[in-house]
């Protein structure tokens, strides 16, 4: 392993704090990023010779800031700056306060702000994610484009557009109050969840390409939790991502076909990630301030704790989905709950539960997949077939269609040995 690889890891880990602090000084994203880049270039020259500094982030902030100030001064001599350039007028104060600012007291809000500007409400979700991966995580445009399965040029454009929009908006530089901080936290948590889902919802053939999105989301969630150690919902979010990500190696077969939860080889689940997820959900529960992430993590935890599919505590999962329905009413949550109900009470009750969802989920392929499954369990095979055909017609990708087809095959297979199973 070369020195450069270690330095890269150090630069990556220092990035959110360093860019966050530089953004606070210069109040301009491009300047902050450029300052950080310049500091990184110097680090690559200096660190192999002099060894890495004790506090990489502080080093990068200091060097980046000095380089940028030099640049601004040089430009200042060449051309007069506009009167209202706040970045310049702020620099003197910045210098006076440098010692105080580097002691890390601001870093929590710096990082939160950096994450928060990426989830500007005018930005579509895909742009938020791309921007966060570029600015906060420091992933290269090429890498992000690859994960999103788009061309580099298209991603470059997407990020440029997102940046322009963020620059045009008023970035909140004041230290946030408690209420505002918790609002920011909620937006940022939602964005991290989106990043994860973007990677997690990949199909088998793209899962590997997209898995960096899941890993990055886990890293960001841990980072956020380290900044806000006693927020049960951030514990819940982190636990949820860890528990889902723990199953990554078991989710697809060699041909890239989806393997359903109950068919997965559980020995492939990452026990270290599961242990961490369970520890976090354990801690979160103590606060008795439940929330959607905690409930979803608790559901994932019940799956993770089951050594075999038959050990799954579906009754508890049903209750948890019931709680989630109250917190976040959504037909999709009810649909998921119905699956638990089908295990606890039976397919008839489950089918009854999803009937009223039909108008709202008439274009949702999972709805028809699940409905077909229930019908088939009840021996209403003709109706099941209709539902499955509808599901396949609604599939957005061939992978989705294949997934449903596999679901069908599986149910065909299962509906026969049902008697054999009962007899064992």
């Amino acid at each position: 392993m070369t020195d450069t690889a270690w330095i890269d890891a150090a630069l990556t880990s220092a990035r959110p704090q360093a860019v966050g602090a530089l953004l606070r000084y210069f109040r301009d994203l491009d300047t902050a990023e450029e300052a950080f880049q310049n500091a990184c270039l110097r680090a690559l020259k200096s660190w192999p010779q002099n060894g890495p500094p004790r506090d990489a982030a502080a080093w990068l902030i200091m060097v980046g800031r000095n380089v940028a100030i030099d640049d601004i001064r040089r430009n200042k001599k060449q051309q007069p700056l506009p009167e209202d350039d706040r970045a310049i007028s702020d620099l003197d104060d910045a210098e006076d306060e440098i010692a105080e600012r580097l002691d890390g007291s601001h870093y929590r809000d710096d990082i939160l702000r950096l994450l928060f500007i990426c989830c500007h409400k005018d930005l579509p979700a895909t742009q938020q994610i791309a921007l966060a991966l570029r600015i906060v995580s420091g992933l290269g445009v090429k890498q992000i484009a690859r994960a999103f399965l788009v061309s580099e040029a298209a991603m470059e454009q997407r990020i440029t557009r997102a940046k322009a929009r963020v620059a045009g908006a008023k970035v909140p530089f004041d230290t946030p109050g408690a209420a505002e901080r918790s609002e920011r936290l909620a937006s940022v948590a939602a964005m991290i969840y989106l990043i994860f889902n973007e990677g997690y919802s990949a199909s088998g053939d793209t899962a590997e390409i997209r898995s960096p999105l899941c890993e990055e989301a886990v890293r960001l969630a841990r980072l956020l939790l380290r900044l806000f150690q006693s927020e049960p919902e951030i514990m819940g979010l982190t636990a949820l991502l860890l528990l889902q990500h723990a199953r990554a190696a078991a989710r697809f077969d060699a041909d890239g076909q989806v393997i359903l939860l109950e068919d997965q080889d559980r020995s492939l689940w990452n026990q270290k990630l599961i242990a961490e997820g369970l520890a976090l959900i354990d801690k979160a529960m103590r606060h008795r301030r439940s929330g959607p992430y905690q409930v979803q993590a608790a559901i994932a935890a019940l799956h993770a704790r089951a050594e075999t599919p038959d050990d799954t505590d579906w009754k508890q999962i049903d209750l948890l989905y019931g709680a989630l329905e109250i917190m976040q009413p959504s037909p999709v949550v009810t649909l998921n709950r119905a699956v638990a109900v089908s295990k606890v009470t039976g397919a008839e009750a489950a089918l009854e539960m999803i009937e009223p969802l039909a108008p709202r989920l008439s274009n949702y392929f999972h709805y028809f997949g699940v409905r077909g499954a229930f019908l088939m369990q009840l021996g209403r095979n003709d109706e099941a077939r209709v539902a499955f055909d509808r599901a396949i017609a609604l599939a957005n990708t061939t992978a989705e269609a294949a997934h449903i087809r596999m679901h069908i095959d599986r149910l065909m297979r299962d509906s026969q040995p049902r008697n054999a199973k009962a007899g064992k």
Binding site: A5, W6, T12, P52, R222, R226, S230
Partner: protein, 122 residues
């Protein structure tokens, strides 16, 4: 004499290692451990989960339970070794060997007063 070698490192940085980097570190560390084990000098070894999974209890009355590690520091306690060494020099040699696996961080070398190997987890 038994020495505890407490491993401190910047958790963000360790979390930013690639899978390959992490695996390579663990591989190098296991070589050092094997050598010590062959000499019968290796006691319990632990790599701890991230400090976000930690809880701290202040022994107030009633005890106060806080989320997070005991100390908020730049470098966090990420794991430890118990090693049998004849003196500090030897313990420092072990730490040096372990330290070669990856740059950065620090080891606190601390003689053990009372040691009960226990049986949990074995």
């Amino acid at each position: 004499m038994l020495y505890a070698i407490l491993c401190y490192h910047d958790e963000d940085m360790v979390g930013s290692w690639s899978k390959e980097q992490d695996a390579s570190v663990m591989q190098k560390l296991s070589l050092v451990q094997e050598k010590l084990a062959r000499q019968g000098r290796l006691g319990p070894v632990a790599r701890l989960l991230p400090t976000t999974a930690a809880t701290t209890m202040r022994k107030d009355d009633p005890p106060l339970v806080l989320d997070g590690p005991f100390a908020e520091t730049k470098e966090q306690l990420l794991g430890f070794y118990i090693v049998d060494c004849k003196d500090l020099d030897e313990a420092l040699d072990v730490a040096r060997d372990l330290g070669a696996a990856n740059p950065g961080g620090a080891y606190e070398i601390r003689p053990v007063g009372v040691f009960n190997p226990g049986r949990a987890g074995t």
